[in-house]
């Protein structure tokens, strides 16, 4: 095609796009892409794992909500009512651990083990048997997660109404030990009480959660570059020729980012308090202390990513690949209860899962060390495990 003389070095075609040009770039790009095993694995596995895990985790309807029960009646009619709750897959009652007082019930909810409590007052069965008027049961709901609280409330009321209705029908037909009492007899009146967030504002739940996620993401990104950047520029080689200890290097890298992360934390807490008008019910200082532990854990995740990757690009890919699913399975938006057990295993390996409980517990419920010491212990354990793993990985690489 080229009939131009050698003096003219113009391309033969002045077209905007040429097939040969596009093809040669396309081919080169494809070869490079396939030659990076990390990227290939990333492309193939990430979407599949993300879809499967998160799909399984969040497409489930809410169920298996653990309910704490204070049965002060303990007679037949109350046991029938509890059976009605048992028969729904929505609630789950641990029959071996009833509590005796409302204080104990409230404590169970405050600790975060239960989202809902049912109190059946003394004389409940007698009232039912009398077949007159109405009797009360109390439903206490943790209002932290506003939407879940609403669902729980609706579900509990529906179960009680349905149960009353069934009872009436059964007694009308003589299928029960209870005496025939007619259709217009005792009505069970549920009294609901929402704890901590009586107005059920969604922001109370979401803002501290978002804050946790922002801090998590930022701090992981801080350190995920820390080692890999030095490897890429070659400064690591020079550094390792000095008598510096690996543990010194790792801890020294983490501390400045921990300070920055903590300052960021305080800033965002300020925004939460003054801009979104969400007050911290618990101790501000306790929240600061737990946040430092969380920040160090996140930084340790970043450090481990950094010792694993060959380039900064890989570090970003891996960070995002880990962050996206962890947002969905940590309980940030979707509750953990309905998730399948194998997803829950991952959930309970994530520091974020524990910290979400901590920050919501302190901000909304006013929790302190007595409720959250287990969370703190696990976070501390995770951060030392991750730091240890980074040091080990790094030492293995240079040996």
């Amino acid at each position: 095609m080229s009939d131009s003389s050698p003096q003219e070095k113009k391309p033969a075609s002045r077209a905007l796009l040429t097939f040969s040009g596009i093809y040669s770039i396309f081919r080169k790009e494809l070869i490079q892409l396939l030659r990076d095993p990390f990227l290939v694995a990333f492309i193939v596995t990430l979407p599949i794992i993300q879809l499967v895990v998160t799909g399984l985790a969040i497409s489930k309807d809410l169920k298996h909500i653990e309910m704490i029960v204070c049965n002060q009646d303990k007679k037949n009619a109350s046991i029938e009512l509890l059976k009605a709750f048992d028969n729904s897959t929505f609630f789950e009652i641990d029959h071996n651990n009833y509590v005796d007082s409302d204080e104990e019930l409230n404590r169970g909810i405050r600790k975060g083990k239960f989202r809902v409590g049912l109190t059946i007052p003394p004389g409940y069965s007698e009232q039912i048997l009398s077949g007159k008027g109405h009797t009360n049961v109390n439903i206490t709901i943790d209002g932290t997660h506003a939407n879940i609280a609403k669902t729980i409330k609706g579900m509990a009321i529906a179960i009680i109404e349905n149960h009353t209705h069934e009872q009436m029908k059964a007694s009308a037909l003589g299928h029960t030990a209870l005496p025939l009492i007619g259709l217009s007899s005792t009505i069970v009146q549920p009294n609901t009480k929402i704890l901590y967030n009586p107005e059920l504002k969604a922001s109370w739940f979401l803002i501290p959660g978002i804050l946790a996620i922002i801090m998590h993401m930022m701090t992981i990104l801080f350190t995920s570059f820390a080692i890999v950047r030095e490897r890429e520029t070659g400064t690591l080689e020079q550094l390792m020729a000095t008598p510096i200890r690996v543990a010194d290097l790792m801890v020294g890298k983490v501390i400045p980012y921990a300070v920055i992360g903590f300052l960021d934390m305080v800033l965002t807490l300020g925004v939460m308090i003054w801009f979104f008008e969400i007050n911290i019910s618990g101790s501000f200082w306790f929240l600061c202390f737990t946040s430092i532990v969380f920040i160090v854990t996140s930084l340790a995740i970043g450090l481990l990513i950094s010792t694993t990757c060959r380039s900064q690009v890989q570090a970003v890919q891996l960070t995002l690949g880990l962050l996206l699913p962890s947002l969905l399975i940590s309980g940030f938006v979707f509750p953990l209860e309905p998730m399948p057990w194998f997803v829950k295993i991952f959930s309970y390996c994530l520091p974020l899962t524990y910290y979400l409980d901590i920050i919501r517990g302190v901000v909304i419920k006013g929790n302190g060390l007595s409720e959250l010491w287990q969370h703190m212990l696990i976070l501390t354990f995770l951060s030392s495990l991750l730091l240890g793993a980074s040091i080990f990985r790094f030492k293995k690489q240079i040996a």
Partner: protein, 344 residues
């Protein structure tokens, strides 16, 4: 075999059957080296021959698969961290912080090496003066030219007064003047008793070293003083003679000479050819044969082999040996061709 206890008379570096494998591959195969204190040791070899792996093992950055090495009297298998406090290392690529100033880089490394306090300040001043980076103290690492970057790297590698300095191709990205200046600096260091372990691709630099080792395909083929190496039997032998022939046109003559039956080797050296012929062919006969082959001869003279000749000859001999080994694995008892002039 245990090596002798530490004392000043001990060699700076001593290795015994040092081996490093990476999976199936042998990067360094049975390396035996002895380098005396105050020496400038030039470590040569093609890319991928095992130079960097050797340096990394001697710096305690990589543990040997087998064999022993003592650096500054310390066993690399036992205390690599202690070794790092006694040596300086200057990688091939500029490996200091480009976003720190010259002073900040020096400060950082002196802290890592524990060079602090009053004595530390004196030492820092001394090194900065020696290397001459003082006038750039406020410049960022990235603002320096190649030569000054290497000087800064040298400064950081020297700040703790190391006994041995490893320099991996220190002049690779330098202009000739900077190259000369750096070598002057290296000589003055060596004269003050520091041992230098330098890798290079430049033959003129190798000639300036007090001893040289040549590694090819993970084996140390030869080591010794540059003058000793030129006497290696494999290269000079009793049975051949090397001539420098100036003639025009060079490439055409090269091809013609290569075709002459008795010529063992021809190499282009700048504007001349180096030709190796059997000893029984004298200068007169060679001149005659070149004339009759139609070459316009300008000059011809018998020469001693250069270091480059030594390495080229030995590399070719080793390639041939490797090929024979591949074809007939039974002959593995025969040792690889190597120079005999091991250092002192």
């Amino acid at each position: 075999m245990p090596l002798a206890a530490t004392n000043d008379m001990q060699p700076a570096i001593m290795t015994e059957n040092l081996v490093r494998r990476f999976g199936e591959n042998i990067a360094v195969n049975n390396l035996n080296l002895t380098i005396s204190r105050g020496e400038i040791f030039g470590f040569l070899g093609p890319n991928g021959s095992g130079k960097s792996t050797t340096i990394k093992m001697l710096c305690g950055l990589l543990s040997p698969t087998s064999g022993q090495a003592r650096v500054a009297g310390i066993d690399v298998n036992k205390d690599p961290e202690y070794i790092r406090s006694k040596i300086g290392y200057m990688p091939q690529k500029f490996s200091l912080y480009e976003d720190l100033t010259v002073t900040e880089n020096i400060e950082f490394y002196s802290k890592l090496y524990g060079v602090t306090g009053h004595a530390g300040n004196i030492r820092k001043k001394e090194v900065i003066e020696l290397v001459g980076v003082g006038k750039y103290h406020k410049h960022l690492g990235r603002e320096l030219s190649g030569g000054w970057k290497q000087r800064l790297a040298l400064c950081c590698a020297l700040v703790h007064n190391p006994e041995i300095i490893f320099l991996d191709e220190p002049t690779a990205s330098m202009d000739p003047v900077a190259r000369r200046e750096l070598w002057d600096l290296l000589f003055s260091l060596a004269s003050s008793g520091v041992t230098l372990f330098v890798t290079t691709h430049y033959m003129d630099e190798a000639e300036r070293c007090s001893s040289v080792g040549y590694i090819y395909n993970s084996r140390l083929i030869v080591s010794g003083g540059p003058d000793e190496l030129k006497q290696v039997r494999e290269v000079v032998g009793q049975d051949n003679q090397r001539y420098e022939i100036a003639c025009r046109p060079l490439v055409a003559s090269f091809n013609i000479i290569k075709a002459i039956e008795y010529v063992e080797d021809v190499t282009i050296f700048g504007q001349a050819l180096h030709v190796v012929v059997p000893a029984h062919i004298n200068e007169h006969q060679l001149r005659h044969d070149l004339h009759s082959a139609g070459i316009a001869l300008q000059s011809i003279r018998p020469i001693e082999p250069s270091l480059e000749d030594v390495f080229v000859t030995l590399t070719k001999a080793n390639i041939k040996y490797d090929e024979e080994m591949r074809q007939n694995r039974l002959s593995s008892l025969r040792p690889a061709p190597s120079g005999v002039a091991h250092v002192r």
